[in-house]
Symmetry: D2
Subunit: 306 residues, 4 copies
């Protein structure tokens, strides 16, 4: 398998204007190496975020040019595996960042929470920090996306192109579908998380560098509006917006469109179906847009079309 | 077991000013009968919501006076069982109500969605409406709560007192903890759902009348700020607010308080724990406040305090 | 003129279940005495909110029963004058309350801002506190409303019934229109502010006790959905909701309905009119719902209907 | 005076990667020509937005390189005059865009509002469309900003760099202060509005092409976080975010910082000052972020520092 390592600087934006580092063919499987969200600058308790970080955050490997991808296509990226490339992960409390503090976006006059670094040892499939913080290795790629049509979007932002969604279902076994806005799609990824709870509450998951095995494919001429995910038994959509209800609306609305187009449901019946059997969890409640994940078990999609 | 049937009019508010219909002792188990959210007025396709409904919605059985309950206590209600008292359930599209339409609260100039009634047959543990809508019997009580300290709150509203939370974890096997604001707590319940997806997207779940077996208990002198739920393996908190991120913040914040008080976690470590292992799903995205449910598996709460 | 003084306890809810303290006839002018929002409990720097306040906040004078008022009518209350009944006003920083701090509704882990009391002398039409805080006497009634149809709503809450709107246009010279939900309307008022900026940023305006001269009138059989205000040259609507954009939508939507019904505008032309000439300011960004005020100058409403 | 006309394609992003079209010296006054937000593609009732528009919206003239501007400086742009360069303006109802309809961001299942074009004649200082829509010439520049540090931001977006704020105070007589993130600041402007109400309710103001006379200046080494505006008697800050309360928080918070730094106020006293005398209006409630404008009259800033 081909190994893809960022040849020079990482990208801190999703942009059509970044030169591809390599290209892949539809159907091809490659291994992509990613740095952690801090580009490795936080390694221990002395590496306080306020001292070691600047605005170059969440380095992305890419872009990878997908041969044959054209605007209006949909890019499929199956995540075959995610392996750690080091034996530790890190989380941190960063001043004025996180779900339960004033931030740049939710401006307040209150003092920040204290800075704090949590370094976890990874061994035997478990991440451990002190006596009480111990989590299994359940990795996913926090950030996956394509180049937007017009803008250069910060790697910290999730939106229609994917990006920094921080949702746990971009994980091994699942396929992520992304809109193609520009020739070659220009796929970027990074921000592997060794594990993360819903919402990524303090803003920083178990950040780690990783090697992700990805298989690329294309659906020609069938555009999607927002990132979709398929697991062996579920369809999911990631909506990213503020306030959070707008993210939920986007996610359910796009899931209705999916069910109507591919499973022959009447639109209002799809609305009814999701009312009784849809799922909706919070991926992140800390990024520039919040990401929520709508889902439905495939077993509900049978019937006439089954 | 004592059977509790509403003796006269149902209550359409949670209020300290409603006369108790009965009292229970801590430790007592009773069976409570509930009407559906429309007080049975929607039974078929001709019963259009715009014609048959008024502002008396979501009838509550109660209040039940809990002997010995005082402000500052916490009421525990274990849901032992929920059985249907009829063989059908109903959902509906109601004009200017639901998650993907303009509403009274999110006012727009657009036309309403069409009215539509979905009547489901309940048989063999399945609810069926036509060829494609078929869901298992997974009942819960959409509305459970105590009398607020000062206000009379509509039975359509979820808030700190519980109320119309519409979250799937107020289900058999789980215990719901509610703040006690007034002597006797004054517990109300209703709005049984035969099943419901996250968010209750169109605004109306599988509405059914039911018989709920409930066991009441009290924790004296240990107040809580928001409804909590305990299952055999999880702690959960229901936050209700708009916008949705405020509901999420409330839920995670109260869960941190719970973990700190009962499991000896440092507050920022609890924040870290929930960052990596917390869960957060959307209960409803249609009511006067949105309800989100934060959770943590008990297995993470051991360690030193274990 | 008849002087109306609260005969016993103030009301801390807007409710149909509170006994009227008096009645008025349509067309009648009366003087109503109001207490300040703290019922006078904060008088100096030692009266820290955390020590002297409980949940009985924002005392209301009333309810006043308006003869002939029936559900579906609209109550008009013209504010003829507001006079202070003491020579000082007070503001305060209250822990976990205000626009730039975590609150009960926007829960955070950060520490509260310091408590602080600002006592202002009222003399020569100016309110003065120290060297740098000096504001003119521009009084309005922070809270005016009718009894809701079903609920007993906290006096701290603004909504469709009016209530704690905290908007500067409920001031002398203007007429406030309120929905009538119950026989007699049951009008309550209180919370006079000697002055206040848009948003009532820290949560506490220049609180003062006052004597308000009010003239009551009725529009029979023409209901309104949200509070309206008319000045000599403007029509205004107060929308109260969270998030703030929902309050803005409500306010503009109701103003469109007003213009369509009373000035013969096509609905989309009214939308266009407000796009080019509407005004929208923030009344409060601190209460249980935020209140925004949409407005239009009457000079724009002429033309065909002029 | 030097006349600046876009030499080639307009820019549809604010980006450090767009080549400057010219440069100016601090202190220099120039005349800048701007196209309307549709690049003139909507000229009459047949030019339906759904047919004539694509994603190239809100063309910007620029960037203009400001000699000597360095990251950390603040750019001052005084608007000396705005003159129309044609005798008509245009507004429109665009499907799924505007404040009272479902949109791409607030996704719904409801139908769009009808498309409609409003063409206004400009004569004698008045804009007129039919019998009832008539507004004075009160022009401002809807979009003004600098290049962001990292991203290429759509010209439809307002944020910390300025951009598509759509606030009526970027008008003749006022000075707009913008953060400088990159060498030369890279100033863009466009989107002249002949007039606009608060909120730009339907999403489209009175769009017109124009000639703006602008004087540039620099404040070296004193960064600001969000756009500021100074008129002869007021200080203002524009906050842009969703939900709207976050825009309000940003605007008031930055205004506090301004008052503290330049007028010697204690931070909590500044909070108190704005509570009693601040202003807050809605600039736009339709763009990708909502823009709110906090303000204070300079007359309140005297006292000790006076």
């Amino acid at each position: 398998m081909r190994e893809i390592v960022q040849p020079g600087d990482y990208s801190y934006v999703f942009s059509r204007d970044v030169a591809p580092i390599t290209s892949v063919l539809p159907g091809e499987t490659v291994a992509v190496y990613t740095e952690d969200a801090f580009t490795g600058r936080i390694r221990g308790p002395e590496d306080l975020p306020s001292r070691v970080l600047d605005n170059r955050l969440n380095p992305q490997t890419g872009p990878i040019y997908v041969e044959g991808a054209e605007p209006g296509d949909t890019l499929a990226v199956r995540i075959d595996a995610i392996e750690p490339t080091r034996d530790w992960a890190v989380s941190a409390l960063i001043p004025f960042f996180g779900g339960l503090t004033g931030t740049a976006a939710t401006a307040m006059l209150t003092d920040p929470l204290p800075e704090r670094i949590y370094v976890y040892d990874l061994a035997d499939g478990m991440l451990t920090c002190g006596d009480r913080l111990r989590f299994p290795w359940q990795p996913f790629l926090g950030t996956m996306g394509t180049a937007p049509p017009l803008e250069a979007v910060s790697a910290l932002t999730p939106h229609a192109h994917g990006g920094n969604m921080d949702v746990r279902d971009t994980c091994p076994g699942n396929t992520v579908f992304l809109p193609v806005f520009v020739p070659g799609a220009l796929f970027f990824t990074g921000d592997a998380h060794a594990n993360q709870g819903d919402g990524e509450l303090c803003g920083v998951a178990l950040e780690i560098s990783a090697r992700a095995t990805l298989t690329f494919d294309l659906t020609k001429g069938r555009p999607i509006a927002w990132p979709r995910i398929e697991s062996h038994d579920r369809l999911m959509v990631v909506g990213s917006a503020r306030p959070m209800e707008d993210a939920a609306r986007i996610a359910y609305r796009e899931l209705i469109d999916w069910i109507v187009a591919d499973y022959g449901f009447d639109r209002l019946d799809a609305y009814q179906l999701l009312t009784q059997a849809g799922s909706m969890y919070v991926g992140n409640m800390v990024d520039t847009y919040y990401s929520l994940v709508a889902g439905i078990e495939k077993s509900y999609l049978g019937g006439l079309a089954g």
